[in-house]
């Protein structure tokens, strides 16, 4: 598990690495991603800082957990380094030490006095491909079902054997749906979905889709599988503007 933020340690260098998660490794869980990235950092021999705590953990912070099975083009990790080695060199060493399906895309030093990634990155854009069967399995029915869900305002669902509720007023930002080309005998719907997270929770595409397909609008259809990819993550400013975590103004 990652260490606590080293607040008040300006002597450390905060290296932000943007990485992707795709191919087979989309099926890794968040903890598995954390372990793998930490080992990549060690293999890369980056001069990472170690916490003072009992367990001597690497000082490292990740963006919000990506669901198992979801791919991503934009995941982020902040590694705190004791030496400021050249960011390009750090990137190259990291790339050489990473599995190709969890490869870094960009790396830069960012301001150390910023909130931790997990809480700071509040907006996500998702590309979702739904495969299913049935007469009602269409973009228009899905659209109707999502509208109706938004009207309800929340989703009750189960995580494992525990009941959960997520409000949709803030978490569900927008969506676009279109019928896609059939695939492997299944009908397809393509969706772009924008979500917002807060300390009350994050809306997972699979939870939204499961709820949508339980409704009458999609009653005559069966959802077989979902392919989910996170296309981007941003911080949403108070004025609603979106800030890229690798933006030039954050780099130092």
């Amino acid at each position: 598990m990652s260490g606590k933020p080293p607040i008040g340690r300006p002597d450390l260098n905060r290296l932000r690495v943007m990485f992707r998660k795709d191919g087979r490794l989309a099926y890794l869980g968040h903890l598995e991603v954390i372990n793998t990235i930490e080992r990549s950092v060690r293999r890369a021999k980056l001069p990472f800082s170690v916490g003072n705590g009992f367990a001597q953990r690497m000082r490292i912070q990740f963006s919000q957990a990506l669901p198992v099975g979801a791919a991503s083009r934009a995941e982020y990790v902040d590694v705190y380094l004791t030496d400021r080695i050249d960011a390009k060199e750090a990137f190259e060493r990291f790339a050489e030490s990473s599995p190709s399906a969890l490869a870094p895309v960009d790396a830069a030093y960012v301001q150390s006095r910023m909130p931790a990634l997990e809480a700071w990155l509040t907006r996500s854009l998702w590309q979702v491909r739904l495969l299913g069967t049935g007469d009602d399995f269409s973009a228009s029915h899905l659209d109707e079902s999502l509208e109706a869900l938004r009207g309800v305002g929340h989703i009750d669902f189960m995580r494992g054997d525990k009941p959960r509720t997520i409000g949709l007023d803030t978490t569900l930002v927008s969506w676009d749906v279109a019928d896609g080309a059939t695939e492997g005998g299944f009908s397809a719907i393509d969706m772009r979905l924008e979500t917002r997270s807060s300390n009350l929770g994050a809306l997972r595409p699979a939870v939204l889709m499961e709820a949508a397909f339980k409704r009458g609008e999609l009653g005559g259809s069966v959802l077989d599988s979902l392919r989910v990819e996170r296309m981007g993550q941003w911080h949403e400013g108070e004025d609603g503007s979106l800030i890229d975590p690798m933006a030039a103004e954050l780099r130092i």
């Binding site: 490794l25 099926y27 869980g29 793998t36 930490e38 990549s40 060690r42 599995p99 599988s225």
Partner: protein
């Protein structure tokens, strides 16, 4: 039928979103050898889930040895969990290897690790899921050659109807010999029968189909194996033994899994074999002689392994790491290097003396969790019977030393059902725990419960007699009697800071039966599998009834089989597959056990005559001077 070698991951991928822990099936781990050009292909299988099988050091060693051999490639496979295997059967997807996602039934050789007895039904399940005939005698000419080996190969008879060949002893060289033999024979167009004949001529390779089982008045009810006339197969197949561990590749584990596995750390084998001579311990008898890896090689290899894998923990693995003559030197050097990078060093178990505590102290740095000791028996009398050469004073000194070093939780391992055991021996377990607790309270201060955190946990396993030990002739304790003694132990404890846990006596009955049975026992294994038994080593999955019913259907009472004792002069079902330890020595040790006479460790004194060194032409290889407790 041999399936075509082709990448079928696209058939597995749609199932990944529907099963628990999909990371079990992904492959592409850091360090996995993706280039699998062959042209001769071997698949090594640990017949349990990925997270249980992947840390196995034996498979890692064989994987490297085969992939390093010219023209030979080696991949891995594990048994999918029940959710995945059900989906695979439903959609007609056979078991696939990890690296190339090819059907296991397309390989030239498929090898199984016999890690313990309870893996039996999982091997049946693996073959069935792969679409390979379960019985070797039902296989087609071009089917894969199915081989097995590992720590539990010494009585492999109840499983051998599934295997074309069994590899005995150290595998790193013999597996390459086997692969080359099969490859060359195939290239020459040899028949399956001819291939097996050739395999039987290789040192340490047992080909079961070339042996008949004979039952007569000189044997047990399971009989003994004799070579079929004209086959030229040896009467006794002796194990392969690497003379020097220093000549083997020290960095075996190069792969870094994505998912959390049961031993998620870099492991290095620091020594092979143990000569302490504990009379219940099969590994202690079958892995002889003792071969230490020199300190410099260990230290260098750990550094290389950690850099290569990115692990933050390394384990110095062996049957008895603190017996390594250079243990202190190794730990000091590793701790020095590890301190700055947050790397932890661990050793699997501690010797029951002050030296063991000193070593535990050296590996743990500031960490003071629990410390584990294995007195194995409650009284000195019984410890002498089992040749556990530790005294009550050793334990008390070690406990005091540990509490003084800052440990608060002590775990003590024992066995129940040892030969000659009485109620007094059981009660003495709690007495010892109480004394250890008293020492802890004395050292840490006698305060109210929960304040000083001192506690003792007793873990009690059921003793299962294993072949090639001095107790191989003994019957296992009856299930009801085990339960009575477990209750006796429980009720003898009144202190809340002593926690007692014990093993399931049902599992031990099946393990005991599998350890005793001969070749005819395979029908029971097959029956249990047909009754739905899988993952028998998982308490959540184990079905006692499934096994008992399978036995009944064949006229066997499995508990009676497990508890049956054998005549000292009887020919035993496993006499033809030998680790080199002589029967005379085992009989002598049995008589000494009954007389309560102990036998010293030959690496610390002189030869005790077990027969391994002269039989196999090897010797103990000790790097420095061994420290006597």
């Amino acid at each position: 039928m041999r399936l075509e070698r082709q990448d079928r991951f696209h058939e597995l991928e749609p199932l990944l979103g529907k099963v628990l822990h999909p990371a079990r099936y992904l492959d592409h781990e850091w360090g996995a050898i993706e280039q699998q050009d062959g042209p001769f292909h071997v698949c090594m299988i640990y017949a349990d889930t990925y997270e249980v099988g992947q840390p196995n050091l034996g498979i890692a060693i064989l994987y490297n040895a085969l992939n390093a051999a010219e023209g030979i490639s080696c991949e891995r496979a594990y048994l999918p969990w029940t959710d995945m295997s059900a989906l695979m059967r439903e959609r007609g997807v056979p078991l696939l290897s990890l690296e190339s996602s090819s059907p296991v039934a397309s390989f030239d050789i498929v090898g199984f690790t016999l890690a313990h007895e309870m893996v039996a039904t999982n091997i049946v399940e693996t073959l069935d899921l792969a679409g390979i005939a379960v019985r070797a005698s039902d296989r087609d000419e071009d089917d894969p050659i199915i081989i097995a080996g590992g720590p539990s190969a010494w009585n492999c008879e109840p499983l051998v109807p599934m295997f074309d060949a069994v590899l005995l002893g150290d595998g790193e060289e013999e597996i390459v010999d086997v692969a080359r033999c099969v490859r060359d024979a195939r290239a020459e167009g040899a028949s399956r029968e001819e291939i097996l004949m050739r395999l039987s001529q290789i040192e340490s390779i047992y080909v079961p189909s070339l042996y008949d089982v004979v039952v007569n008045e000189g044997s047990t009810r399971w009989g003994y194996a004799v070579p079929k006339e004209g086959t030229g197969a040896p009467d006794i197949v002796y194990k392969r033994c690497i003379p020097s561990l220093a000549d083997t590749e020290p960095v075996a584990q190069r792969m870094v899994p994505y998912m959390g596995i049961v031993q998620d750390r870099f492991a290095i084998e620091v020594l092979r074999g143990c000569a302490r001579g504990c009379r219940f311990c099969q590994a202690g008898m079958t892995y002889r002689p003792v071969r230490e890896r020199p300190a410099e090689q260990v230290i260098e290899a750990v550094e290389e392994g950690l850099a290569m894998t990115g692990y933050d923990e390394c384990s110095l693995s062996s049957l008895s790491t603190t017996d390594h003559s250079q243990c202190a030197q190794i730990l000091t050097a590793l701790n020095e290097k590890a301190r700055k990078s947050g790397v932890r060093v661990s050793i699997p178990s501690q010797r029951l003396d002050s030296f063991g505590v000193d070593m535990a102290s050296a590996v743990s740095g500031a960490r003071r969790g629990g410390l584990t000791f294995a007195p194995e028996a409650g009284t000195q009398r019984l410890r002498d019977v089992i040749n556990k050469n530790v005294t009550e004073e050793d334990l008390e000194r070690a406990a005091r030393n540990a509490f003084e070093h800052g440990w608060r939780r002590m775990k003590l391992y024992y066995m129940m059902g040892l030969p000659t055991e009485t109620d007094e021996d059981i009660m003495a377990i709690t007495d010892t725990a109480r004394r250890v607790l008293e020492i802890g309270r004395e050292v840490c201060g006698r305060v109210r419960k929960g304040k000083n955190g001192v506690s003792v946990t007793i873990s009690v396993a059921v003793f299962v007699p294993k072949c090639y030990t001095p107790f191989q002739w003994v019957g296992q304790l009856q299930r009801d009697e085990v339960r009575r003694r477990q209750q006796l132990l429980l009720t003898s404890n009144k202190d809340r800071d002593i926690h007692i846990s014990y093993h399931d006596s049902d599992v031990s009955v099946i393990e005991g039966a599998l350890s005793k049975m001969g070749r005819a026992g395979f029908d029971v294994v097959l029956g249990a599998w047909r009754n739905g038994c899988r993952f028998d080593a998982w308490s959540s999955e184990f079905s006692y009834e499934g096994w008992i019913e399978a036995g009944k259907a064949l006229g066997y009472d499995l508990e009676e089989i497990a508890t049956e004792s054998f005549d000292l002069d009887a020919r035993l079902p496993w006499d033809h597959t030998s680790p080199g330890v002589s029967k005379g020595y085992l009989k002598r040790e049995w008589r000494r056990a009954i007389a309560g006479v102990t036998t010293p460790d030959c690496t610390m004194t002189s030869c005790t005559g077990c027969g391994v060194c002269p039989t196999l032409g090897v010797d103990n290889q000790i790097a420095g001077d061994r420290h006597v407790g």
